[in-house]
Each structure stands twice: as structure tokens, then as C-alpha cells.
Subunit: 142 residues, 2 copies
């Protein structure tokens, strides 16, 4: 008789979700120091790195939908960390000075997050797994 908790261990749905939640939680802790969720933090990092980037590109880059990106931007705008300009149908997103100033702290959080799981899983192993998961995600549907 199989242990109850292991019943669904071979199911990709559960494994993927379980790992995502664990990872999310770990990431949340790392970024709590700057009072941002991981999604917000990565979006901010991306905008600092690519000033003027457009929501659609952000969405592709972060594997989110455009509508979600809008919502994330709204929150970061309310914190005065970035702002938008709109010309025609194009919107450009820029960091504010306050946002840019956070870069060192953001990088530190990112580094800490990576160190956290790399310590447990090994650097190569965790990178390998990440690439593999993204590869699989790409294969599933279009």
C-alpha cells in the first residue's frame, strides 16, 4: 500500500506546482528585505536594465500575460519606483530615480536567493534543472 502523500508524485501537475510554490516562498523571503514580491522585483530589475521596455516585451520575458504586467506596473508606480509614457499604442516603462537607486539592494536579494537554493541543490544541478524545466515548458503546447 502506497503512502498517501506519494500518490501523485509522478504527476507533472503536482510536481510542477509543488516546486513552484516552494520556490516562490523561498524567493519571497529573499525579497522581503526590499518589500517586494519576486514578480515585482524581477520586473523592476528588468526595467532598470532595459529602460523604455514595453509591457509586451516584459510579459514575454517574465512569462506573464500582458494584463498581469499592467497590474504589476501599477503597483510599482504607486510606490514611485517606475513610470510610464505613452505614445500612440506604445507604452514605455522607465525606472524612477528611486527605483534605480534600489539596484544594489535588488541585486543583493537576487544573489541571496540564488545562493539559498544553490547551496541546497548545488549550482550546476539547479541551473541544469531550471534550463530543463524551461525547455519542457516550451515544448508543452505553443
Amino acid at each position: 500500500m502506497e503512502k498517501l502523500e506519494n500518490r501523485y508524485q509522478k504527476c507533472l501537475y503536482f510536481s510542477a506546482n509543488a516546486l513552484a510554490r516552494k520556490t516562490e516562498k523561498l524567493a519571497q523571503e529573499s525579497w522581503s528585505k526590499v518589500d517586494l514580491t519576486p514578480s515585482h522585483a524581477y520586473l523592476l530589475l528588468l526595467v532598470i536594465d532595459e529602460p523604455g521596455i514595453q509591457p509586451t516585451q516584459i510579459a514575454a520575458c517574465l512569462h506573464l500575460t500582458p494584463s498581469t504586467v499592467t497590474r504589476l506596473i501599477l503597483k510599482l508606480e504607486s510606490k514611485k519606483l517606475l513610470h510610464r509614457t505613452t505614445e500612440g499604442k506604445i507604452t514605455n516603462v522607465y525606472p524612477t530615480a528611486k527605483g534605480s537607486n534600489m539596484l544594489p539592494k535588488l541585486k543583493a536579494c537576487q544573489q541571496e536567493f540564488f545562493a539559498n537554493y544553490a547551496q541546497i541543490l548545488g549550482e550546476n544541478e539547479s541551473t541544469r534543472l531550471a534550463l530543463q524545466m524551461l525547455n519542457v515548458a516550451g515544448k508543452l503546447k505553443g
Copy 2:
């Protein structure tokens, strides 16, 4: 210059989430035939398989928190697919006749879901990945 979309491909946070969302979507399609989300469907399957199971066990089994399990149960109760009895601090969850009658269809959806991704990724490969992800999830924090 690295392609923008690949910037975070080595980050476990993105890879895990991207895969989880893709998997979720694939699962949703499979279970849309019975008008249930994957979480609801798996919970129902579990209760049919283990009548009288308690919320805490369900939570452990499905990798969800107890409060989420309560919410899922409420919805399935409103659909008359299962019901609860409470004695003392213990709650037992049972399928209704209507719920039990869905078993063949639920199994079919589950099978279709597995076939869907196994066809793309290979049976062994997808099972291996699932086990690995769960293993890693287990290692990350406690």
C-alpha cells in the same frame, strides 16, 4: 547580447513558475470536460479513493494548505459532489453518489492529461522529471 526572453532562463523561480503555469493550463483543458479545475478534480478523485479522508491529509497529499482545501471542498459541496461530517475536531469528507458516479470520467480526464504530455515529453522522461521536481521541492526548506 543575450536575447531578452532568455535572460532569466537559469533562474529557478521563473522556470518553475513557467512550467507550473503551462502544466496547469494543459491540465485545465483536460478537465474542462467535467467542468472542474485540476485541483478540484484531484481532490474529488482522492476523496473517492479514500472516503472519510480528513482535510489535513488532503492538504498534505495535494501539496496545498488546509485553508485552501476547505475552500475547494466548499465548492465541491456546492456542486453536490461530496459532503462532510464533523465529530469533535475531526472532519471526514465523503463523496456523494453523484460524485462517485463521476469516477470513470475523472479517470478518463486524468489519463488524457497524462497522455497529452507524455506524448510530447516521453513517458519515462516526464515521470523522471516529475519525481525530480518533487524531490527538489522536498529539499527546499522544510
